[in-house]
Symmetry: C2
């Protein structure tokens, strides 16, 4: 089985964006009334997927996508906690519809109703709802709900602990995933995403988070940001700081996906990062949508880069399936339904 651990619903039917637009309009006008959730037919949802994610699953030969709301649209910096909660509920409910329509193709991961300055504990209830009521298997955790101003404490700070307690209790991991950037310095998918990945990894080197939470698990997307390219730098920094070696720190707690859009990058990733800590992912349909004129293939068809590497069967199974099942223990049950 080939499990893509990183997909977002970037092609959702228009009513979802209409709902968001109505929310944004309310914020502008200073209003605060309850908005009706968007209505969309099953057919509209099917149509939005058949020509995109499902088509690519079939064409590329992947089986199931761990699927979450569009990351760049989470925009936790917009509005307050109530806006973020309403938007998260609506987005997560749409993911649940997708998973209900295609239970073999999609398993849900939720958006959290984070908001700048609001305790992460406040996100625990929506996480619990998504896991217990909607059958989701994880969440996307935004280390910077301020959208590029980085006003929250590091992920190793006790600020985040109440949410981690809920994650541990539910036995679900989080993908560390920022959203849109309202800081003009940071292009969202070209800088903010990658910077957040790098930043989170360095925080994990510095902190003792996994002593406090031995079963807490994070997926750092986009191949771990800059980390594999600078593996020697991070090994050296950890050593100079008398911190544990990277494979020891990562072992049961920190995982990278394979959202790296060229073969040399994927090869480096597999050359330096322990194979037990890499999960196949493509971020499809996502940040890069074009076809590479040099290969005639989609940049984000990351399976192709792995297939070209002639991996042994054991490694292949780990990367495409085994590691994902280990990181997302609820996946097995979700797929059995």
């Amino acid at each position: 089985m080939i499990i893509d651990c990183h997909g977002h619903y970037t092609t959702a039917p228009k009513p979802l964006q209409d709902f968001r637009d109505a929310q944004l309009a309310q914020i502008k006008e200073g209003k605060k009334s309850c908005l009706a959730p968007p209505t969309m037919s099953d057919d509209a949802i099917r149509e939005s997927l058949e020509g995109a994610q499902l088509k690519f699953q079939r064409e590329r030969g992947t089986d199931v996508t761990i699927f979450s709301p569009r990351a760049s649209a989470m925009a936790h910096h917009i509005g307050d906690e109530s806006v973020s909660l309403a938007w998260s509920e609506v987005c997560n409910d749409v993911i649940a519809r997708v998973c209900g329509l295609y239970p073999k193709n999609f398993v849900g991961v939720c958006q959290l109703p984070q908001s700048p300055g609001v305790p992460p504990a406040h996100s625990a209830r929506e996480l619990e709802r998504c896991v217990n009521e909607l059958g989701f298997i994880g969440c996307n955790l935004n280390p910077d709900p301020s959208g590029g101003n980085w006003t929250s404490p590091p992920l190793t700070d006790k600020h985040w602990y109440p949410l981690y307690e809920k994650m541990v209790e539910l036995d679900v991991p989080a993908m560390v995933h920022v959203s849109a950037s309202c800081n003009p310095n940071f292009h969202a998918t070209g800088a903010h995403y990658i910077n957040a990945d790098t930043t989170a990894f360095m925080q994990f080197i510095q902190g003792d988070l996994f002593k406090d939470f031995p079963t807490l698990r994070f997926i750092i997307p986009h191949g771990g940001g800059a980390v594999p390219f600078h593996w020697g730098r991070y090994r050296g920094l950890a050593q100079d700081m008398k911190r544990p070696p990277l494979p020891e720190m990562m072992k049961n707690n920190v995982f990278f996906d394979t959202c790296v859009y060229h073969k040399p990058g994927i090869e480096l990733l597999l050359r330096v990062v322990p194979h037990d800590n890499i999960l196949f992912g493509s971020e499809m349909v996502g940040a890069v949508r074009g076809i590479d004129p040099k290969t005639g293939q989609y940049y984000d068809d990351t399976k192709r880069y792995l297939d070209a590497m002639d991996l042994d069967a054991k490694t292949r199974t780990k990367l495409f399936e085994g590691n994902a099942r280990r990181v997302y223990p609820r996946l097995a049950k979700a797929l059995a339904h």
Copy 2:
């Protein structure tokens, strides 16, 4: 000749830090009196280099280091413009002493007296002094003088143009180099530095800076941050955004150094980035000071990784010398003295 384009005076004699400490004490006390510049003997300067940078030059077989004040100590976010100017002048003067004592081994690059919210134009005078009076050949430009809060406009914004005009007039490049981080999210050398590199590159993709300044040149240090690892992502983003292909954008304007502290990373760098845009650098003595137990060699001995690659003579000359001479046209004259 082997030119290391990236070295900082991280081992300066104690009076330099004493001066800074006195400055910091003044800020705390709200005082503003003129501090006497630090005094140090030629012997103290020699001693600080003989056991460190010079020793490594000899051991590793490099000839000359393009040398600037300690980057993490620039700390432009501390104090105001006058503090930053006094500190920059003192640091640059010490670099000039180094270059005077060892004119074959070191060529100067200056720290700029940037300060949050202060127009970059105000740094032009110190740049001019360093180039015209001290014989320096470039500068370090901090894209985030706020130290991790990223409050300045992107590098492609007209905000920076007056300084660029001076750089072009003097025909000197800038290394894009942040300093210490006062944002607890960002470890300085482990996150802030690398994030800034990635961020700057994405800004250059988005903007039309080099149409306005065809001869403006930037070195993005630390191998270009995350960029080579995500070369496919950046190629794809540029393509989706209908921006020029990366090699075309970089051609005469954007260069990466080789401060990547393991062989697989260096190999990737050389595999994807045009060789005309890579300058040998080590950041020695800098971010990572340890010895890799796997190789028995210093992590930051980047020449060793390149030497192990069995490059042809033409490529080798480009990387170790030719490209640096092209990017720093004043280097030839400085070395001739």
